[in-house]
């Protein structure tokens, strides 16, 4: 029984009664409360309570202790004499846990299965990225180190453990601690959002999976149909989870970033990543793409901007692929996305040179071009996604 319960990953948590009991408790206690500091503490207690109900005592104690350690070390990061050492310690710890979580083949010896189960249960992929954001914000002096309840609320918010979104620490630190009272209109709006998310994930996506998806174990024309359905299924499943998180966040007065904006309407791959898993693509931009591109631009004295972007896209999306899972298929998926982004970047550059500013405006306004571009982008995404599922 112990193993069975612990084996639940973070996505399955959303489907358990425990999740919705904690949600009800959060609504009953946080919605009427207007005192900022009390809200912070109560919200932290609810998040810790959620960890308590999804983990066994030993794992729960270890997880909470780890959050305490992060809180203490981040405090040290803000102190001049120790900031470098504290940053290295925290970054190394974060990376080690991430490798244990995502690269089981590399780290199979010496790490008990339960550790991986715990990392999976709390959605460590997302926690690790939040940790990077927090660490960098404090290291660069953009924010003072968070209080203990803020550290808990930022790192392990129960409604964002399943599938993000990855809230930036800037957004978290600047949100209102005592949001305006919940009106009937807002309550209905966010309940609709939550129930639509549940319906998308557990009814529509579930039905699509059962009726159409075979794990690409078929050949011929059905393979092509399954590839299209796989993209639609993934969108409904993933955006459903995001809708649930946004709905819960809205009801509780907690800022929860949007993660999807009709990605199937994207007209190129750059536009696609502005619409798909938005919080991840913004994280990649902040922490990988811009630093790599700026570094290369400085190295080359700004002579080769397109090639600097090419290297930055490739490195960023190779790592993006490996963040999803430490496997060859996800590396291929990441590199294919990088290829799509690089091609879009070159195409955009040469089209601007060739058509000029007015010509580009006409080109972008052209309906036929838009439809063609949207179809090509859709099919490219379908093609790239096949690699994460097809038997190799």
């Amino acid at each position: 029984v112990r193993r069975n319960v612990l084996v639940l990953d973070q996505v399955a948590q959303v489907a358990t009664p425990k999740f919705w009991i904690i949600f009800s408790l959060a609504v009953l206690s946080l919605v009427p409360l207007r005192v900022a500091w009390l809200r912070q503490w109560l919200w932290a207690v609810i998040n810790v309570l959620f960890l308590k109900v999804i983990l066994f005592r030993r794992e729960f104690v270890l997880t909470v202790a780890a959050v305490f350690v992060v809180y203490a070390v981040v405090k040290v990061v803000s102190l001049k004499p120790w900031r470098i050492i504290a940053t290295i310690v925290l970054a190394a710890g974060n990376l080690t846990l991430f490798l244990i979580h995502k690269f089981p083949a590399l780290t199979s010896s010496g790490h008990p299965t339960t550790m991986r189960a715990v990392l999976s249960a709390i959605g460590f992929s997302y926690v690790a990225l939040r940790m990077v954001d927090l660490l960098r914000s404090v290291f660069e002096g953009r924010h003072s180190p968070p209080t203990l309840p803020s550290t808990i609320n930022y790192l392990v918010p129960f409604h964002m453990l399943a599938a993000g979104p990855i809230q930036s620490f800037d957004d978290f630190a600047t949100q209102s601690l005592a949001p305006p009272a919940l009106t009937v209109h807002k309550a209905l709006h966010f309940t609709e959002r939550m129930s639509w998310g549940l319906f998308k994930k557990f009814v529509i996506a579930s039905a699509l999976q059962k009726l159409f998806l075979t794990g690409f174990r078929v050949h011929g024309w059905y393979f092509l149909i399954e590839a299209q359905v796989f993209y639609i299924w993934l969108y409904l499943d993933f955006s459903g989870l995001s809708d649930i998180a946004v709905g819960i966040g809205g009801l509780l007065g907690l800022q929860t970033p949007e993660n999807f904006n009709h990605p199937y309407l994207a007209r190129n791959m750059i536009n696609f990543w502005e619409r798909w898993h938005i919080s991840l693509s913004q994280f990649i931009r902040r922490h990988l793409y811009i630093p790599i591109q700026l570094g290369l631009m400085r190295q080359t004295a700004g002579r080769m901007p397109l090639w600097c972007s090419t290297v930055a896209f490739t490195a960023s999306f190779a790592l993006c692929g490996l963040w999803h899972a430490g496997t060859l298929r996800f590396l291929i998926w990441g590199l294919l996305n990088a290829f799509g982004l690089v091609v879009t970047n070159f195409y955009r550059h040469y089209l601007t040179l060739y058509l000029g500013a007015k010509g580009i405006k006409r080109y972008l306004a052209n309906r036929s071009v838009r439809i063609l571009a949207t179809v090509v982008t859709f099919e490219f995404v379908v093609f790239s996604l096949v690699f994460i599922e097809v038997p190799l």
Binding site: A12, A15, P17, L188, S195, W196, F199, V203
Partner: protein, 53 residues
Amino acid sequence: MMGSTGTRLQEWSRSEEGASRAWLLVRIVWVAAQLVCVYWLARQSELFFYQGF
């Protein structure tokens, strides 16, 4: 009797307040329908809600 109730209902739904309340009712029913559907399907599935809801 039925006719007058029907007429009153039609008049009410045409008024601004009535239309907005009718729309609110539709939204609440839609949310309830979705949640009932999710719950019912989840009960059928062993994968989700297997701990018993």
